[in-house]
Symmetry: C2
Subunit: 415 residues, 2 copies
């Protein structure tokens, strides 16, 4: 018989009403019980993970690494749950409130979204992380992880559900889709009757597939073709530190720099030393004709495609620009509206860059690598939104909430 | 040659950068020039409207009424523009701000969404209204109105664009899709490269078609299967006023009541007088078996379908419930999460209804008819969101904005 997601949907919806009413203290008790459950049953988790790993023999080293759990990683998961327990509960806050002309007391209160779907790949830590954040924010969650991690995920979910059950909370707060076929994933993307939002976490390919196919509202996360613009009024030593950090500290992530724009007045003298520093860090450089002229044949000519591309790798494309305006226009044309930075000591230019660049996070004199829920101080991160609706930039627990209006009257009717 | 929306998209995107930087005073000058333009050219507008009306001969009276413009209605449009000019500008406000552990000054600033698409039917006032609200909130807009209003809409847009041009603002701030075929409407729904959001305004059918077909993020507006629950601890005279107001004041709108739930302890004595009052207002009543038993054969038995239906008409379905819990469960099952009200003087029950009902607006002792941008005091309304992402409930100018993070550093790099 076909796998029926509406069964999960119904259970999740029913659970969401219980979760919305749970007191913070109770939720934290559950999260700590979940952490204890993972620690107590580490051996079982690792045993199930080995079954997944056995099947993953043919896959890339990076893939296998993300899939692999050992004692230290299970301990990290447990600590993650404990950290979420320590975060402030976002629910119940009044976002605003006023009395309208008719005398109604209108209060806008923060409430859970309801039921959240998470589609991700083969990183078992996402299972625990997403479960914790959705639970703390009062939402029921339906997880759909990659098929390669199914044994591990089923074990993790069963341990977390046990903790729910043992603390008197419905285990339907957290469910996992056991059929990992594409058909069922597509069914999940259409489950508008039960899902309030769908959040894809993982590769650009996964995210685009979800954006393309989903009828459920999606929060798009991830793609980051981030630029650094080094102005002619920059502190060039500072710029160098920022370039190396933004490109090399962790090139695989979305807030790493992919492009360097440099003002023509400083390009000739500055690019050779920057290039050397980047080469020392094993970064492949590409560039426009001007850059090539300055740096020579070791630089591959960047194509139009390069300017759009997020490398997620030790590659940086460099372009010489003749003005701040050209830099801003380039960023707004080719960027993914994620994180963009200017390095300058010119006040007016800093103000113009901040105002005119259209991105979730716009920096002056800092590395783009700070666009991150933890670095922002949210204590958690469910992803980095690159869309403009609902949430933009790093998303913590608040992004998993909505509001409702509570309206108290004494018989008001509309004239 | 096929109509190419990417041309409009590119122009709108370019315009959006200019609009985001316009000063409030300038925007208000433009809005007043638009109002003057409409007044000065009222005769031309009415002449074009007559061309549309000539073709609309076969359509319903209600449709023709919505399409028809006269001097008074053009004057209303002009006044609408002047009112939007008086509204506070939502842009630039800092929604939050802090210094993170690395010493970065992080400020979250309200900015425009960018490019907004509006799909609507044959109400020419939406053309002016949507143009005004999108412009005031710093967004470029692409309008796609119903084909029956095309002559009128083209004239209105040309007048508004003239006002833009004459005040030195790009007319691409406001564009209209001239090809009103379904194919081009579908193309608009897929225009993810240029549109930041799509807002359908009109019938449930239109809205559902957009939700189903759009790849662009949609703000779903409209459907309202609103309930009134009369508790056994209600002030029954107050309840009567509210029932009559919520059902009869304007039955065609989404915040009108469609269902009455009544506690069994008061049903037998109270329903007959309520029924009589509703019949006096020409309301057709349907009901569950209990209601039928009390009110007799004049009451049609409500079907399962009735409980889900938004009548938008002089029809009300009544159900006798045995507890607050049953009322809440019914509302959460059959409601559209729009506006729900309890009439009670029991404090605990009021608190439980407010907490447990999942809807954009939850009322105690007031008519659901207040769920409205103007009644809420927003001074404008682009629609009433029944989804949970981004905006929930009445949407004013704020709903047409997003935020970006402005981050000022002094050389910070990530450790």
């Amino acid at each position: 018989m076909a796998y029926d997601l509406t069964v999960l949907g119904k259970k999740a919806e029913a659970a969401s009403y219980q979760l919305a009413q749970l007191e913070t203290k109770k939720k934290n008790t559950v999260l700590l019980a979940m952490a204890k459950g993972l620690r107590d049953r580490t051996a079982e988790i690792i045993a199930e993970n080995k079954l997944d790993l056995k099947k993953a023999a043919g896959l890339t080293q990076a893939f296998v690494d993300r899939l692999t759990l050992d004692e230290a990683r299970v301990e990290q998961m447990a600590e993650g749950l404990e950290k979420v327990a320590q975060l402030p509960d976002p629910l119940g806050d009044l976002v605003g409130g006023w009395v309208n002309e008719a005398g109604l007391q209108i209060a806008q209160q923060r409430v859970p979204l309801g039921v959240i779907g998470i589609i991700y790949e083969a990183r078992p830590n996402v299972t625990v992380d997403a479960a914790a954040l959705c639970f703390k924010s009062g939402n029921a969650v339906i997880l759909r992880g990659g098929k390669e991690a199914l044994h591990t995920n089923l074990k993790l979910v069963s341990i977390l559900q046990n903790a729910l059950r043992n603390t008197g909370v419905t285990p339907a707060a957290l469910q996992i889709v056991e059929d990992t076929s594409h058909e069922v994933a597509n069914q999940l993307m259409q489950l508008t009757e039960y899902l309030d939002v769908l959040i894809p976490r993982g590769s650009a390919r996964l995210i685009q597939a979800v954006v393309r196919n989903a009828k459920v509202p999606v929060i798009e996360t991830g793609a980051g073709n981030c630029h650094l613009y080094v102005d002619n009024a920059a502190d060039l030593e500072m710029a160098k530190q920022i370039i190396i950090n933004a490109k090399c500290q962790r090139p695989s992530v979305c807030n790493a720099a992919e492009k360097l724009l440099i003002h023509k007045d400083v390009a000739a003298s500055y690019l050779p030393q920057i290039a050397q520093a980047l080469w020392d860090h094993h970064v492949e450089l590409r560039g426009d004709k001007q850059t090539q002229k300055i740096l020579g044949s070791r630089i591959k000519l960047a194509t139009e495609q390069d300017w759009y591309q997020e490398y997620n790798d030790y590659i940086l494309a460099i372009k010489v620009v003749s003005s701040l305006e050209e830099a801003i226009a380039h960023v707004n044309k080719y960027g993914t509206k994620h994180s963009e930075a200017i390095i300058t000591n010119d006040y007016k230019k800093s103000q113009r860059f901040l105002a005119q660049v259209d991105a979730a996070a716009v920096y002056v004199n800092a590395s783009t690598r700070f666009t991150d829920g933890f670095e922002f101080g949210f204590g958690a991160e469910i992803g980095i939104s690159t869309q403009k609706l609902h949430a933009r930039g790093p998303m913590g627990l608040l992004a998993l909430t909505t509001t409702k209006y509570l309206i108290r009257g004494n018989g008001q009717i509309r004239k």
